[in-house]
Symmetry: C2
Subunit: 298 residues, 2 copies
């Protein structure tokens, strides 16, 4: 397997699946649909739906119900970026070289497009019940929806964002920082892998293990981000190095130093990979994908 | 039946049900929970959950699954107010005599608390699957969730808000105005009555009729609002009369005049009440509630 070629191919397939669930830009409210689709189609690694799909395949899943959850997951990730970019939040006018949604469509439409995407995510996920055949499949879809809602909400991503906002300008200790990483970054990764497993019929113990693995991946990913912010170059990062430092933001590196941070990434990553290898079903590509995420150079 | 006493009693019961599903204010993210609960507990007629419950009772519904959807509906209604009040939207610092959420907790937390409530609405509604016994009850909960998501989203309330934002400052024709009324106000009323019916086991024809009835109620309610804005007094309205006029907002009254507007309310209301009377099951209180909404003096 040539990993980078395979990654490109599978990312493209994931992209097509997501696009297939976006709302057609028609009717009197076509402008908000346009703003929603603009936000989703602005690019991205499609990492969460990809993780979901690969976990689903690892457990032998083969139907198309998962597609709706893949699209829903990317909509939730996207809405969180749209609202994060708003003037009252991070106030970013550009993301991936394109105007952010509110910069392009106006501030009010930025808020509404974000709301629209969050709501449409649940609308799309809930359409999975129409494909469910019999009680067992209904229960799996229900469980997947519950995981999606919980991990995206105040006990997951939104909770992490709220603590991050709350702590802005204050000195943050290690425990609080890891809590923010776990919720803000980890929760949607956890949901992605858990939902893939649940829809494919994995048992509760396996789903719990995947939650732990994905949580580790999220933390390692985030600490790696902090390391790259110090060691990376403009060329490899696409943004100036040390941007966190200039923003006076507490990171794992400012708290513990580069060496300790690198050791932590190593330790957490090894635990995640060992967990994945301990499962009775295997997916070599998923293993490579997770390694690539943790050990990336940009 | 003394309607106003009964209304007070049942509103109180509805309030208690909603409160029972609010998140406890604990953990590191307690501040966002506090902001969410503050928004919901700031008051309100609890009209949508009340309509849902009375429709549910009309069709012989008796379990507690509906409670979760009642709470979810009020959370969605509340989040829409929280985001509507934001500086980039209507920029309101007070609602019902209390500081709005962003005025009290800050702009960023206002955005996040709204997101949190929308997400928590689906989290709460999705918990209904845990109470569902067997395939038939699972299907009903799934159908209710689909209605909730669709009517709250871009094909419902958010769509209406988006068109409203889009048309701000432009001359609006009757068709567009009624479209905004139907989606912005009507959609959640429709969802409330439809979900009550679905959870109680009503058939598709009955659910469709209720959708039409609730749509009429929404339109009549909104036109009545336009009339009261012209004819009401500060005393009965709690806000200055003619506020729409001063805001140069197109209303049904500015478009068609007072007399035609009153005739339209009469015509649409009669159609809604006739629809309700045509159902084989009855709920006298629900009939009175709808009359009170349409013929209110404030």
């Amino acid at each position: 397997m040539n990993f980078s070629e395979e990654l490109k191919k599978r990312t493209g397939e994931t992209e097509e699946i997501i696009e297939g669930f976006l709302p057609p830009e028609e009717g009197r409210q076509s402008l908000i649909m346009e703003a929603m689709n603009y936000s989703v189609l602005a690019g991205g690694k499609r990492l969460r739906p990809l993780l979901m799909y690969e976990t689903y395949r690892m457990f032998g899943g083969a139907g198309e119900t998962v597609y709706r959850f893949m699209a829903a997951m990317e909509m939730i990730h996207t809405y969180s970026l749209v609202h994060d970019d708003l003037p009252a939040m991070d106030d970013d006018r550009y993301r991936r070289g394109k105007l952010t949604t509110h910069a392009r469509y106006g501030h009010a439409m930025g808020i509404l497009a974000g709301d629209g995407l969050l709501n449409f995510a649940f609308e799309t996920a809930a359409s999975a019940f129409d494909c469910a055949d019999g009680e067992e499949e209904l229960r799996r879809a229900a469980k997947a929806l519950q995981i999606l809602a919980r991990k995206a909400g105040v006990y997951g991503m939104i909770g992490g964002q709220a603590v991050d906002v709350q702590e802005t300008g204050r000195a943050v200790d290690e425990e609080t920082l890891l809590f923010i990483y776990e919720l803000k970054t980890g929760a949607l990764l956890e949901a992605s892998m858990m939902i893939g497993a649940v829809l494919a019929g994995a048992d509760d113990g396996e789903v719990e293990l995947l939650e732990q693995i994905a949580s580790d991946v999220g933390t390692a990913f985030q600490i790696r981000d902090d390391i790259l912010d110090v060691t990376g170059t403009l060329e490899t990062l696409g943004k100036p190095a040390n941007s966190d430092d200039r923003n006076e933001k507490t990171t794992y590196v400012t708290l513990k130093g580069l060496e300790k941070a690198s050791e932590e990434v190593e330790r957490i990553s090894e635990r995640a990979l060992a967990g994945l290898r301990s499962l009775s079903c295997k997916n070599e590509f998923l293993l490579e994908l997770i390694k690539a995420l943790i050990y990336r150079e940009k």
